[in-house]
């Protein structure tokens, strides 16, 4: 049976645990940083030496850690792309611009255990020869920025950051940088532009891969809050031990944000892939099921950008049988293990690990209209397909939810959504705004068509000339 596994959230919410430095130190805080900074070079069989930094980067690779922000990209690989020979400074930015609808996990870490993030950052910075780093926190988290600034002040006073940290000769400064209410700043190149003091227009790749041409055109690492906390635990326990948590290629733990129509919404840390969607939604130790008399209608499994699952939807997943042969197993949506690969195989994603549950009281057209309004508001406006497409989808859904719909709106929505993603836009926002429309409309098409049809019929009954099909007389007019 699935259980919570608290690695990152080990102390968060524990009675008596505070977010101050003394509390953190009392629970073994900053010992891992000390270990990292004073790690001796390791002798290799060929006579060469592996520096402490190289060893840490190697451990992160071995751990199999994948980014916790949304894309699930290998952290070790991301670090390996960093241009270390450019002669330019290398920067690290903690992406704390948590704003994917449904997600509220980084908030828990920053508000309740800020020193864990700072320690993870300091280790990641040391491992990558970074001497100046930023925490880009979303503007609305006013208290979060204050808490982090206070924690940084405490850490500076005790020499966990600053000059010659713990006598190691290593210098690091970390500053908090606040956003100002724009979702696009979560996209790493948009974030970099924002940090540079510009409009957060994402940069085109190639050539602007942050690992080579990032902040001020210098090599830059952008990692999520939870990812950086994981780095601390990887160094503490070793990459191999970390990789034993979770499932193959989906290692470690993840903090799942559960919201919507469940009895116990909240954040639950699990070993990746060791709980199914059904357990997360229905098990009493997690979501605790739906409200009385309600049935499940739909689940968005990884933040609002992820393609929706319809209750009862089935997928054919590859599995190994007892003799190790690969077989296809029909799997209900609810029985998908909550990990990166299974959800991708089912055509969606675990994204930022945010599950939004909708029961049968939900008007699915209204739900999509809500999500599309979000994307129309948040498109940065740089690329025409995204700027115009997100707005037209939102306007179409607005008329469908305000009595002005048409039976053809469902197909119309799909046509727009199909023409935004796939290399037509600079960043993945084009995909993010299209996926909900493509999946909601395809999987609940009858509801979209019925709504438009009912509107047409009602208007026709009211004698609205504009709503009627064109007649010959009108055509000659």
């Amino acid at each position: 049976m699935a259980q919570e596994y608290k690695l990152i959230l080990k102390h968060v919410d524990a009675p008596g645990y505070g977010r101050d430095l003394d509390s953190y130190l009392h629970h073994g805080g900053y010992q891992t940083l000390g270990k990292a900074l004073h790690m001796p070079a390791r002798d290799l069989p060929d006579g060469k030496k592996m520096t402490a930094q190289e060893q840490i980067r190697e451990e992160v690779k071995i751990s199999g850690l994948r980014g916790r922000g949304g894309a699930g990209f290998s952290c070790g690989l991301k670090w390996s792309f960093v241009d270390r020979k450019s002669g330019k400074p290398i920067y690290l930015i903690c992406n704390a611009d948590e704003s994917e609808p449904g997600t509220f996990k980084d908030r828990q870490i920053m508000y309740k255990d800020p020193h864990q993030l700072i320690e993870g950052m300091a280790i990641a910075c040391f491992a990558n020869d970074v001497h100046l780093a930023y925490i880009y926190i979303r503007g609305e988290m006013v208290d979060g920025a204050r808490i982090l600034n206070e924690a940084l002040r405490e850490a500076r006073a005790r020499n966990f950051i600053g000059r010659n940290i713990l006598g190691s000769g290593y210098d690091l400064e970390i500053h908090v940088h606040r956003g100002a209410g724009a979702y696009i700043c979560g996209e790493e190149t948009g974030l970099i532009e924002s940090l540079e003091g510009k409009r957060p227009y994402p940069r085109i790749k190639p050539p602007y891969f942050p690992a080579v041409l990032g902040l001020w055109m210098c090599p830059t690492i952008v990692n999520n809050v939870e990812t950086l906390c994981n780095v601390k635990h990887i160094v503490a326990m070793g990459g191999n031990e970390f990789a034993k948590l979770g499932t193959p290629n989906n290692t470690g733990t993840r903090i799942v944000s559960l919201s919507g129509h469940v009895r116990k919404p909240g954040y639950y840390e699990i070993e990746v892939g060791k709980a199914t969607m059904r357990e997360l939604i229905f098990d009493p130790q997690f979501g605790g099921g739906l409200r009385d008399g309600r049935n499940l209608k739909a689940v968005i499994p990884g933040g609002s950008s992820a393609k929706v699952f319809k209750a009862g939807e089935k997928f054919k997943l590859k599995k190994k049988d007892a003799e190790g042969r690969e077989i296809l197993v029909e799997t209900d949506m609810l029985d998908l293990p909550y990990d990166f690969d299974s959800l991708a195989a089912a055509g969606s994603m675990s994204g930022s690990s945010a599950i939004i549950v909708m029961d049968d009281s939900t008007d699915i057209v209204e739900a999509l209209a809500n999500v599309s309004e979000f994307y129309a508001h948040e498109s940065c406006g740089q690329c025409t397909p995204c700027r115009e497409g997100s707005l037209w989808m939102s306007k179409t859904l607005h008329r469908l939810t305000h009595g002005e719909g048409r039976a053809g709106d469902a197909d119309y929505l799909l046509k727009i959504a199909d023409n935004i993603p796939g290399g037509r836009t600079i960043c993945a926002f084009g995909e993010a705004c299209s996926w909900p429309v493509q999946s909601f409309v395809a999987k609940f098409k009858d509801e979209f068509v019925a709504k438009g049809k009912a509107d047409e019929e009602r208007r026709a009954g009211q004698g609205n000339e504009l709503a009627k099909a064109p007649t010959e007389a009108a055509a000659h007019h």
Partner: protein
């Protein structure tokens, strides 16, 4: 619009504290321009909004053409180009909060404060006490519906709770 002829006419009075705070912020970055957003935050914290004179002052501090600040002022939803109410209420409208009753909460607040729940954008009461607006996901979806009143964050906001919060705003 900003009149280039008026660049030297400064009617913006930055206090010594603001000047010191801005200098400190600028020192956090190897390139001055990077401090732009933080400087605008600092100005808005003191004055509640960012005037054109404030933009000119910040531009001089950051050694930038004013347009560089004006273009970010007009992009970010949190930055204000005109004065707002003394208490600014931001109600999250995105999916999880909508499922949790955010639209009813927003309507209730507007009705109670004499504002139009269907109007677009932030709305301010005639007495200048409240501004109410819908904002996008505030990243606390598990405690829906949520809202902010100035810097304070409120979770699981029932209509009664909303009334108590607004009543406490003098």
């Amino acid at each position: 619009m900003i009149n280039q002829n008026n660049l030297n006419v400064m009617s913006f009075n930055a206090s010594k504290e603001l000047e010191a705070e801005v200098d400190e912020l600028i020192s956090h970055y190897p390139v001055k321009r990077a401090a732009s957003l933080m400087v605008l935050h600092a100005i808005q914290e003191k004055f509640g909004w960012i005037s054109q004179d404030a933009i000119l002052w910040a531009a001089r501090k950051l050694e930038l053409p004013p347009i560089n600040l004006f273009e970010i002022l007009t992009f970010y939803p949190m930055l204000r180009q005109q004065p707002m109410g003394r208490y600014q209420i931001k109600v999250c409208r995105t999916l999880s909060c909508a499922l949790g009753g955010a639209y009813g909460l927003h309507r209730h607040l507007c009705d109670r404060l004499g504002l139009d729940a269907h109007a677009h954008g932030p709305q301010t009461t005639k007495d200048g006490r409240f501004t109410v607006e819908f904002v996008e996901c505030l990243a606390s979806c598990g405690t829906a519906p949520v809202m902010m009143c100035n810097d304070h964050f409120h979770e699981g906001v029932t209509l009664e709770k909303a009334d108590a919060i607004t009543s406490a705003c003098k």
